[in-house]
């Protein structure tokens, strides 16, 4: 028993000597992650980052009805909350679109409203900027939704029209269309309040920003071990065999290594967590403490397994990077799971990143889920067993 404690103490001491490497690596990793986030946000939003979507509208000067219709559309809540309609002539609209000052242009044709009334439906041309990014896509979605609403209302009017024609009420058709137009608008606007607004997050119980903070934290836990690869290298066979003679078996050696790496990862993430609590980003609680410790040990177990499987320094680094990045993607760490195929979603629950992200979510949502804790325990136990097995196979 005494020799076990001595071995544990010496391994922890040995691991502590790697702390400067770990902190240096952590700083590098954060700088890299920052640069990647900055570049991807630039790619997504183009050069300008704006909250609202400026849209140019070109309406024929003499067409008062078309102008009124566009004004009505622009006053709808869903449009008004996102878009700023700017009225100008067609050439100016397209020039501003080219310059990147507008994300989209609505080119309303002559006789637009009459077309809706008589069913000829002269289309509105929508011009989108090639570099519009997320804002342009948002406007496109709004325009498509508007077209869909319009087609549904027209279908209702045409159905009434046809019914009257079949019943021989030819003279009443005009009045019916006028009445349906008015009543459709009255009811569609009036009944909107009866439908509850329910926001559904692709990221589940946490907000998008919380989701990505958790994802980055878990990825950092795994990749943060790269600077301490020297410590993670499997011990020499002769050393392992001599230790076994002293009663320190493969299982204990692997368990001590998991503990030591877990301690290193805890030390690396402690300043980040402290800063998060201090700035109010996270709430200091027993959930946070438990989730933090569990996630560090869980990540350590996986990292130890990867290096045992690789058996060499370079192999370990390569395997850790590629395996962790791939499984993090499949676990929905980069894109939330709802955007991934169903087969990936089914598999994701068993991946280490998904288990550790669920563990951290407990701290964010302040709920204790035994199922998640057991999954994390199984991850630690499974990785430890496989690490031992890998050593047996290699030797």
């Amino acid at each position: 028993m005494w020799v076990h404690l001595i071995f544990l103490k010496l391994e922890l001491k040995r691991a502590c000597k790697r702390l400067p490497h770990l902190y240096a690596g952590a700083i590098m990793l954060f700088v890299m992650a920052g640069v990647i986030a900055l570049l991807s946000s630039r790619m997504l939003y183009g050069d300008q980052v704006v909250g609202r979507v400026p849209v140019g509208v070109s309406v024929p000067q003499k067409d008062v009805l078309a102008r009124q219709a566009v004004q009505m559309i622009s006053s709808l809540e869903s449009v008004e909350s996102v878009c700023d309609f700017q009225y100008m002539d067609r050439e100016t609209c397209l020039r501003e679109l080219d310059r990147g000052n507008l994300y989209a242009v609505l080119d309303v044709p002559e006789g637009f409203v009459e077309g809706i009334m008589n069913g000829t439906n002269i289309p509105v041309k929508v011009w989108l900027s090639e570099d519009a990014g997320a804002e342009g896509k948002l406007f496109q979605e709004l325009a498509d939704a508007g077209a869909l609403t319009l087609s549904a209302s027209q279908a209702g009017i045409y159905a009434g029209n046809e019914l009257y024609q079949t019943m021989g009420l030819h003279e009443a058709v005009r009045q019916l269309e006028a009445d349906l137009n008015k009543k459709y608008m009255d009811y569609s606007l009036g009944r909107a309040g009866y439908f509850r607004h329910q926001s559904v997050q692709a990221t589940g119980d946490v907000s998008t920003s919380e989701f990505y903070m958790i994802s980055v934290y878990v990825l950092f836990l795994f990749l943060g071990a790269i600077p301490v690869s020297g410590y993670l290298l499997p011990a020499k066979h002769v050393m392992r065999r001599k230790l076994k003679l002293f009663g320190i078996g493969k299982g204990y050696q692997a368990a001590v290594k998991v503990l030591a790496v877990g301690m290193l990862l805890s030390a690396a993430t402690l300043p980040v967590l402290t800063a998060a609590v201090w700035t109010g980003l996270a709430e200091g609680s027993r959930f946070l403490a438990a989730a933090w410790l569990l996630s560090c040990i869980g990540a350590a177990a996986v990292v130890v397994l990867v290096y045992e499987l690789a058996g060499s320094l370079l192999g370990g680094i390569m395997l850790l990077f590629f395996v962790i990045t791939a499984q993090h993607f499949l676990a929905g760490g980069f894109l939330p799971l709802v955007f991934l195929p169903a087969s990936v979603q089914n598999m994701a629950a068993w991946l280490p990143s998904a288990i550790l992200m669920d563990t951290i979510k407990m701290a964010v949502t302040m709920t204790w889920e035994w199922e998640t804790v057991l999954e994390c325990g199984a991850l630690i136990g499974g990785a430890w067993l496989l690490a031992m097995l890998a050593e047996v196979i290699r030797s």
Binding site: L5, I6, K13, R14, V238, K242, K244, L245, F246
Partner: protein, 231 residues
């Protein structure tokens, strides 16, 4: 204590490395095992030290079969493998503490009058192992191996890559160890190192054959190759 190995067999990847090896090392005796590269010397020593399991055969220390209990091995045999079993990032003192199972008292005693003291470990206690020379590491490995005061010392090419002075120091220590009643089994490719041996054996085709002591290098080469010795 006498170490006796009887009828040892070992097979690796369907290749028979040891085919019924018998070996005995009495107190005060040094048995030298020679053989060509890859003939199974390290395998034989690893089996005697308990770090590798034999497919068949018996190993007795002081009349007891020690194969089934690792603790018996640890008590009876001190093993110094070719590769030093040391934790490079830690200090000499930390490494010694591990093999002394945390007993500072026993370690201090040995540093004053035991193997560690004779091998000159005292002055380098605070140094990190990765800053030591090959000779210093080998001395430390021997001192760590002898932390259990085992009556049998097994060394696998102890002088490999060491300077003349260090080899001489190790030879002097072995002579002293034997004089105190210890039994030594060692392998080497160097005649000077084998000069401390009281008995010699050659491992060839999986069998251990006794040979005469004090042979010249040429004669030893012939024995290793299996050529007929005219003299």
């Amino acid at each position: 204590m006498m170490l006796v190995a009887k009828d040892i067999y070992k097979c690796y990847h369907r290749r028979d490395i040891l085919k019924g090896v018998d070996l005995m090392a009495k107190p005060g005796e040094c048995v030298g095992v020679i053989g060509s590269n890859g003939c199974g010397k390290t395998t034989l020593l690893s089996i005697l030290a308990g770090t590798v399991r034999a497919d068949r055969g018996q190993i007795q220390a002081g009349g007891h079969d020690i194969r089934r209990n690792p603790k018996d091995y640890a008590r009876s045999v001190a093993y110094v493998p070719q590769e030093n079993p040391l934790i490079e990032e830690l200090t000499v003192k930390d490494n010694m503490l591990l093999w002394y199972k945390g007993s500072r008292k026993r370690m201090k005693q040995d540093l004053e009058e035991g193997a560690a003291g004779i091998l000159g470990i005292g002055p380098m206690l605070g140094r990190r192992v990765d800053q030591l020379s090959g000779g210093m590491k080998k001395r430390l490995s021997i001192a760590c191996a002898l932390s259990n005061h085992a009556p049998v010392l097994i060394l696998d090419e102890p002088g490999a890559a060491l300077d003349m002075e260090c080899k001489a120091d190790i030879r002097r220590y072995l002579i002293r160890y034997m004089a105190q009643g210890g039994a030594v089994i060692l392998t080497s490719h160097e005649t000077a190192e084998l000069s401390v041996c009281t008995r010699m054996c050659v491992l060839r085709d999986g069998k251990l054959t006794p040979i005469e002591k004090g042979m010249s290098e040429e004669q030893l080469i012939k024995e290793i190759r299996g050529d007929v010795c005219i003299d």
